[in-house]
């Protein structure tokens, strides 16, 4: 599906620009986009380096295990195929907590760390596991308690009550998250023990990330 969306955006963009007689906009947009991709990746370095260091301290001190135990039932329901004492659960929990508190720049490194742990359980290193899909479902719909950025913007434009959208946002984000988890469950149940699992395993790639 990602292939279809990628080619869709490129082709429709090309046609729309051509129809308006400004095809040169495509060339400019291509290099703008490429630059954004690199800039964002480089911007992530500082955040990743810091939080991965912090997370290693938490891991070594046994904090992640305690966190995973604390919220165990929820995580076990969402990630039934991850072993109970696996380090992935601690990272998943810290990723979910950071999202909840609206700490976006801490949530991403923790989420990626969780993905790396889930990857260790993956027989086929190029294909996502159901647990990875669940983690992404939670992250793309991301329950946030306080949309801090939006409140700040509304304040800037002299809103009478900048925080009045906290309630509506919380409701909408909960609906979106429930939909994501339900859809994830549905797809997961459909792909349970499919014949091609064996096939994937026999094709597994030995290399790491």
């Amino acid at each position: 599906m990602v292939n279809a969306i990628w080619i869709f955006m490129l082709v429709v963009g090309f046609i729309a620009a051509a129809a308006q007689g400004r095809i040169e906009a495509v060339t400019e947009a291509v290099f703008d986009g490429a630059k954004t991709g690199v800039t964002v990746s480089f911007g992530l370095i500082s955040v990743m380096v810091f939080w991965l260091g912090m997370m290693r301290i938490a891991e070594d001190a046994g904090l992640l295990k305690s966190l995973a135990k604390l919220l165990g039932p929820v995580v076990r329901y969402l990630f039934p195929d991850v072993p109970r004492n696996h380090p992935a659960l601690g990272f998943i929990m810290s990723n979910m907590s950071a999202n909840l508190l609206g700490l976006g720049n801490a949530a991403t490194p923790m989420g990626i760390r969780a993905m790396q742990e889930l990857q260790k359980l993956n027989p086929d290193k190029t294909t996502a596991t159901p647990a990875m899909c669940t983690l992404l479902a939670i992250n793309t719909s991301s329950i946030t308690l306080i949309p801090t950025t939006l409140i700040a913007i509304r304040m800037n434009f002299d809103s009478a009550n900048p925080a009045e959208i906290v309630g509506t946002t919380l409701l909408a984000t909960m609906v979106a998250t429930i939909a994501a988890i339900a859809a994830d469950r549905w797809y997961r149940s459909r792909t349970k023990s499919p014949p091609h699992t064996q096939h994937h395993e026999s094709n597994s790639v030995p290399a790491g990330p």
Binding site: G33, I165, V175, A180, P209
Partner: protein, 177 residues
């Protein structure tokens, strides 16, 4: 309630950053060495994301700059008018899943043009805050660990974006109208 939540939000990071090393130090973890050991992976992980992110950003950039989105929104306008939904917020349905910065800029512009306390301003704020940028999250998370086949993850993400978008509009129209 809001003041309480904001306080938690501002205190969370500083508190975590002091608590983790302090707790670990008392457990006799060599905190600084641990930090450096973990931090080592940060650079490589970020670099791993570049190819997937550049690929995705190029397509998004072409799609946005070409004016293709305005054309798609135009197609949907009659349907929205029929429901009494302000069609000004419609571009967010396309922007929100593909670009966080782009949709935030668009939301800011709507708030600026129509006012933060207008229905359009409120709906836009709610949409912006209710989901994350699906394409970005997928690209970064899968890109970092080298997953090329994402299975149904994208479908689930986009489905929840649609649900979140519709829910935001319905909830705002019920509460604010």
């Amino acid at each position: 309630m809001y003041a309480f939540l904001t306080t938690i939000s501002t205190w969370a990071i500083p508190a975590i950053i002091v608590f983790i090393p302090l707790y670990a130090y008392m457990k006799r973890v060599p905190v600084y060495e641990s930090f450096v050991e973990g931090a080592k992976d940060g650079f490589q992980t970020s670099i791993n994301i570049i190819p997937t992110l550049v690929g995705m950003m190029v397509a998004i950039s072409v799609f946005r700059a070409s004016g293709a989105m305005d054309w798609l929104v135009g197609l949907m306008r009659p349907l929205l008018d029929w429901f009494g939904i302000p069609s000004e917020v419609m571009p967010l349905a396309f922007l929100r899943p593909i670009t966080g910065a782009g949709s935030l800029a668009f939301t800011t512009d709507l708030i600026k043009t129509y006012g933060p306390d207008s229905l359009i301003g409120r709906i836009a704020s709610t949409i912006q805050g209710s989901t994350d940028t699906t394409l970005y999250v997928l690209t970064v998370y899968f890109g970092a660990i080298g997953i090329r086949k994402g299975r149904y993850a994208l479908k689930v993400g986009l489905f929840s974006d649609i649900v979140g978008f519709v829910a935001a509009i319905i909830i705002c129209m019920l509460i604010f109208v």
